[in-house]
Amino acid sequence: MKKLMKGNEALAEGAVRGGAMLFAGYPITPQSEVMEYLSWRMPELGRFFQQTESETAAMFTVYGARQAGMRTFTSSSAVGISLMQEAISGMCAKSIPGVFANVQRCGPGLGFALEGQGDYLRDTRGGGNGDYRVIILAPNSVQEMMDFAYEAFELSEKWRNPVEILSEGKIGQMMEPVELPEFKPTARAIDGMDGVPAEVLLDHENPNFVKNLGDKIAAMEEAEQRWELYRCEDAETIFVAFGLPSRTSRGAVDKLRENGEKVGLLRVISAWPFPRKGFEALPDTVRNFITVESCVAGQVLEDVLIATKRVTKFHDAKVYGLYSGAVAAKVGQIMEKYYAVQNGNCKEGF
């Protein structure tokens, strides 16, 4: 039976059912419902909830508890995730798993507290010091908020690497019916993390560390790409989007197909690793790509440019971007952009 839930609550419940034994967090709009929900839900199940003094402290609490064997979860938004980067970088350095969510708002600095996708480049490139990557799943529905949080724990333990749920304010705030999955165990000891001597935890003292981390990043990139193709057969123009804009783009594809236009959608599900293989699966007929993003300057666009370099058949494809700022582009805006590109009234996006 399905239950009507708010996106942020589904995210929280997904983490609970995925096995989170500890939530540590700090309030920030538009994700505060996550911690409000868990403030009663965790104690109800005999689990731990901690409101910390900052996002930095939230992530470091998670960092400590996960090293000691507990499945942990935290969530924040935009600038709060910036404050967590020191700990995220540290977790990647020491191969500590962990799950966190970024319910994005828009813009630099304090930004606008509604929605947005402005954190894409920061999050997909690591975001903290040194080079590392975090596996990033981008839901576009309340059901996926639940499902991605639910499976993220095992994914992060499989790679011993943090996993991020990259969502948006509006997905966090909207309500949809969801199917609730079964409960998973709350604790899982990881090799070398259960009462181990100091030297095991100090992974970066290992001379093979850089090589190992590099190998791991390459292996994750190969194995964890996720995408969805919609009406791409015989398409000449492909919209590329993740999150909420991938839903409005889907609407635009339907409308444009009704008008006889050859368009399709490549929906990015794993923001990192970026689904290059999804481009390989597209038909040879594609000539244009249009990214649809809630940001002020092209971000997904950069990854699409790289993908067209890596997939030989698209070396000559043109790449355009629709950046709708704080609010996801509406169907009409996307159609307008498409016709502007068709009529040669658009500059390429680089």
Binding site: F60, T61, A65, Q67
Partner: protein
Amino acid sequence: MAVAKKRPTLTKDHGFCAGCGHGLFIRLLHEVLDETGYAGNFICVDGVGCSSNYFMATTKGSAIESHHGKAPTIARGVKLARPETLVFTYQGDGDAYVIGLSETLNAAHFGAPITTFVINNNNYGMTGGQMSWTTLPGQKTTTSPGGRNPEQTGLPIDPLQMAARFDAVAYAARGALNSPRNINMAKKYIRKAIELQIRDGKYAIVELLSPCPTDWNMAPVKAIEWIDQEVTKYYPLGEFKGTEE
């Protein structure tokens, strides 16, 4: 007749500078771990600075290297996951009282069931002797070459006495690692703090003044005297909370 003291099971030769207090602290800590029976059931969250050399001075045992100032927060997480394990932080003054001031005081405010040990040597030792908030007025460091000027950089900070005022703090004490008498007192403080966690799950903080001959540019003997003559003017010794027990 002199009696040879048995070496604690975890202790091995360390790489600290001659005359430094860190090695003394680790020795005392390991003695207390042996005596309380927790030598095989503890996790040390060490700070960034000279305290991050902990792993060099111990034969075995679990240590988690933290980020700068974040040890109390990490320790809170570790203790949640392993309530039966003794969890303490081992930090310097720059780590616990400057960059980690928020983390230290917040853990104290919560009454987190952990123990914090701060080795205060009035400067950033590991990075080569820069000014800390604990540096004495007029004390020369590599970033206060004319001596610390309190008009610009304030007087030495004392978070230990701030923490002592929080209800949730069970024990707060300051000792010094500069004489046999003080070293014996320091061990009592360490022991009391650890027992409070083991027995009652209470928060305690112990600060130990340590000589730093290398970065103070003093002979070890002079550094020991300097603590009594100058440092204790700003950092008085004793128990500030929990004396009744």
